[in-house]
């Protein structure tokens, strides 16, 4: 996995990072940030469960950038590092993750790794803990987390080193509404 950018920044004076590279395609960037803001601001599924799924994706796809970013809305909903530490193999036995979060994690693993993981009891648990609308939103989230992590990695935008960073949760852009 390369940590050398494979594409340059499109913003003068800024190093290559996800935003400055995506600026090569302004229409894609504008549409993505409108979508991502709408997704994170929706209250159908809590930001905490979305972030749990995002953290799992970050670990499985080996996205160091994703793994070190935290969104403040999920932190405010109680997703501290002691909980994040349990989002690893064996999360099924965690005492800090809720049953709904474990069901969401199993769905995440099934989508990003092996669909056979979501059969029988796991599928029933997902449908017991989340409504169809919440599953739809979770599915959108995991789709975006996975695609963007892979795009970021393959464009060589992985940081060599990065401290844990709490960022404002993506918001709906007024101009996009």
């Amino acid at each position: 996995m390369s940590t050398i950018p494979r594409v340059s920044s499109a913003i003068a004076g800024e190093p290559p990072h996800f935003g400055s590279v995506l600026a090569h395609q302004p229409a894609i960037a504008e549409s993505f940030f409108a979508l991502y803001g709408r997704f994170w601001q929706s209250e159908v599924l809590s930001a905490r469960i979305k972030e749990v799924a995002r953290m799992r994706n970050a670990r499985v796809t080996e996205c160091g950038f994703c793994r070190n970013v935290r969104f403040d809305k999920a932190v405010a909903q109680g997703l501290g590092e002691e909980v994040v530490d349990d989002i690893t193999d064996g999360y099924e036995t965690s005492a800090k993750l809720t049953d709904a979060e474990k069901a969401a994690l199993k769905f995440t693993d099934a989508l990003i790794h092996d669909p056979e993981l979501l059969t029988g009891d796991a599928r029933a648990a997902l449908q017991r803990h989340l409504t169809p609308a919440q599953i739809a939103e979770l599915g959108l989230g995991v789709t975006l987390f996975l695609a963007l992590a892979k795009a970021l990695i393959t464009m060589g935008l992985e940081p060599e080193v990065m401290d844990r960073t709490v960022l404002p949760t993506p918001a709906v852009l007024e101009a996009a509404e």
């Binding site: 390369s2 050398i4 892979k150």
Partner: protein, 121 residues
Amino acid sequence: MSAVCAALAADPVLASHYADFSAKAEGALDPALVALVRAAVAAVHGMGAAPNESGLDAGTRTCLAYARRMPFEHTAITDAEAAAVVAHLGEPGFVAFSVVTALADAECRAELVGLPELAGA
């Protein structure tokens, strides 16, 4: 319609945003290349036949070889492989190609996991 859009049928605003993002990404590339990439990625997932590459130029074949690596080998793609795609598509094209290819992989996975059915669509 993609599995993700189908799953979001009960939330037309979010569905519209997702469809727009996907369309903007695909619209930045030659539609023929987009179709080939989607078919190549789907074939890796066992969701259809691999595209017929006879008659394709070397640059397009390079892009398809790269796309086939995205589902299960994204961390193994080399700088040289990426540079070959950049040489064919240019930097803006490579950015769009990266998004389209990764999104095609994720959409296949959403379909394989049965997302629309789980979402009641």
